[in-house]
């Protein structure tokens, strides 16, 4: 599994979303009968932005306002986004279970206040904590994750962590 913090710089095209994007928008509950990212991805934002699935490209980046991923605990939500090739989500804030799920499965999240519009090109530099909107030339900064979470991620995410701990027992 790809782990966020090993990627130093990623670049992608922006999909812009507003506040309180909930997990029912990201993946409606009726499709929660599989855990497969690609299968789930076919229905991402189906009810609110039906064009998303048709037009999304591998490497695209979601830029949103506050409380992205609010609602259910369904890990299917970050899985569906990964199934569509979304390379990162930038938001002013994230709902907490969505945040944990994404970190645990390796979808890069960045908590930052970024100005960008649909179709802009942005570049995230994880090492420097900087985001550049390549279309407008504006630059933004963000605070990296706490050290213990970085360590968890750098060691390969929760699955790898668990395997190592089990081996130690």
């Amino acid at each position: 599994m790809v782990i966020a913090l090993k990627l130093h710089v990623i670049k992608g095209r922006v999909w812009k979303f507003g506040k309180n994007v909930d997990t029912d928008q990201i993946i409606p509950a009726e499709y929660l009968v599989t855990g497969d990212p690609e299968e789930l991805g076919k229905h991402s934002f189906e009810r609110v932005r039906p064009e998303f699935v048709r037009q999304v490209r591998k490497g695209d980046i979601i830029v949103a306002d506050e409380n992205f991923g609010c609602g259910s605990s369904r890990e299917h939500a970050p899985r569906a986004l990964m199934g569509n090739g979304i390379s990162a989500v930038i938001a002013r804030s994230f709902a907490r279970i969505f945040f944990r799920n994404s970190i645990n499965i390796g979808l890069p999240l960045v908590e930052a206040d970024v100005e960008a519009e649909d179709g802009d090109e942005v570049e995230i530099n994880f090492k420097e904590g900087k985001i550049r909107n390549l279309t407008t030339g504006k630059e933004f900064t963000f605070k990296p994750l706490p050290e213990s979470l970085l360590k968890l991620l750098e060691s390969g995410g929760l699955v790898e962590y668990t395997k190592r701990e089990l081996a130690r027992l």
């Binding site: 506050e66 369904r74 709902a95 706490p146």
Partner: protein, 419 residues
């Protein structure tokens, strides 16, 4: 400075004297709950841990509830995967007919007690705070990890204090108190934080209403929604709880990030309009909004107390000709009580539909999905776009009395109107 209930439980479970907000700890969990929807991805992850890895069976509680009885072939496969995992490893498991909506079942079966740390792969796991536990929703991968290791990482949340004093109106329930609070602080007003609830209006509530309050902490973004346990809780647990427990209370000088104070008399029967639980209005101001469906059920308001107030209203009344009223008890135990108390007869005579327990309609899965343009009043917890069906359908959230009164009149109705 002293510690909050949340801080004390997390400190104790991580073997520390005290913890500070922001600190990341590894804590021993008492139980890990998984449902049929979050189960499948969790079992896939669990297999990655290797053939020799066993779940800690006494801590693992598997409860199919979202799409059981199976709604279609994929959900049947999903439920089967859970059953097979449970049988293989001999975890706790509750089959259709002896089960119900996971959170109510966790409480009924005695898994929940004051001072415990419980995680669940379902966002409404925060419900158990009503009994003084620290409980919170997690994802499937971390539920799998916790089943294997018995512990998980947590970031110590800041704690907010909510104080509700005074006497609530006769048609005001726990649901109105929590909707009022969410309307005030917003759907991210408690983001990453633990909420603790105090005050005479909270102490006066029966356990059922307290569970409703804790259940909806997540709708404000909260990590937990804790109510200090008292005799109401201890009496409920007597003869029911698994093992022993020790109540945990906050210190007098505990540090809260914010304190919010409310007067219960200012809280009317409250409705959350589409498409956010924070979009609240008094029910009395929405009287011209007609409805096609009235739903009473779920982990939020599907307890026997909720069915009793509905029966009180429906006795000698009929559901409006244009309305489908759907009543779903949260568990088999609630079902049996409704049967013994002859509530089901009242519901049927009134023209309501009554079924066995499932989460089904609450999340637009089955058993009450809304068509384009339809509007529902519902005792559930979320009214997001398309939550109960078509993206152009609407869900209004309310307490069981408002739901039932609205079912009778065919429009959103403050129960005061019927008196």
């Amino acid at each position: 400075m002293g510690a909050t209930i949340a801080e004390k439980i997390l400190a104790h479970k991580s073997g520390k004297i005290r913890v500070e907000p922001g600190e990341i700890i590894d804590a021993e969990v008492d139980y890990i709950m998984i449902n049929d929807v979050t189960g499948l991805p969790a079992f896939d992850v669990f297999r990655e841990f290797g053939e020799k890895t066993q779940p800690i069976r006494e801590k693992s509680v598997l409860i199919p509830d979202h799409y059981v009885p199976n709604k279609d072939i994929p959900s049947a496969e999903q439920a089967k995967a859970m059953r097979e995992f449970a049988w293989k490893y001999k975890t706790h498991y509750f089959e259709v007919g002896r089960s119900g909506v996971c959170h109510q079942l966790m409480i009924e079966k005695g898994f929940v007690a004051p001072g415990r740390l419980i995680i669940g792969a379902d966002s409404h796991t925060c419900s158990y705070g009503a009994l003084g536990a620290f409980s919170t929703g997690v994802g499937s991968t971390e539920a799998a990890s916790a089943m294997a290791l018995g512990r998980l990482w947590f970031r110590i949340p800041e704690t907010q204090k909510f104080v509700v004093e005074g006497k609530a109106g006769k048609n005001v329930m726990g649901k109105d108190i929590i909707l009022h609070i969410i309307g005030d602080i917003g759907v991210d007003g408690a983001l990453y934080k633990a909420m603790e609830f105090y005050g005479s209006a909270i102490e006066a509530l029966p356990l059922a209403d307290r569970i409703t309050i804790s259940n909806m902490a997540i709708e404000a973004g909260g990590k937990a929604g804790i109510i200090p346990p008292d005799d109401t809780v201890f009496r409920y647990l007597d003869g029911r709880v698994k093992g022993s427990y020790k109540p945990v209370y906050a210190d007098r000088d505990a540090g809260y990030s914010e304190v919010f104070e409310y007067d219960a008399e200012d809280i009317p029967p409250t409705v959350a309009k589409p498409f956010l639980p924070s979009n609240t209005s008094p029910a009395s101001e929405l009287g011209n909004i007609t409805i096609e469906q009235a739903y009473l059920g779920s982990c939020t308001n599907g307890r026997i107390e909720d069915l009793r107030v509905a029966a009180d209203i429906l006795k000698n009344r009929k559901v409006h000709p244009n309305v489908r009223m759907i009543i779903v008890p949260a568990t088999q135990d609630v079902y049996e009580k409704a049967l013994n108390e002859k509530l089901i007869e009242i519901f049927i005579k009134a023209g309501a539909f009554f079924s066995g327990p499932t989460c089904g309609a609450c999340l637009g899965g089955y058993m009450g999905v809304l068509a384009k343009g339809e509007r529902a009043i519902s005792s559930t917890n979320r009214n997001f776009i398309g939550r109960m069906g078509h993206k152009d359908s609407e869900v209004y959230l309310a307490n069981p009395k408002v739901v039932t009164a609205s079912a009778v009149t065919g429009r959103i109705t403050d129960p005061d109107e019927l008196d």
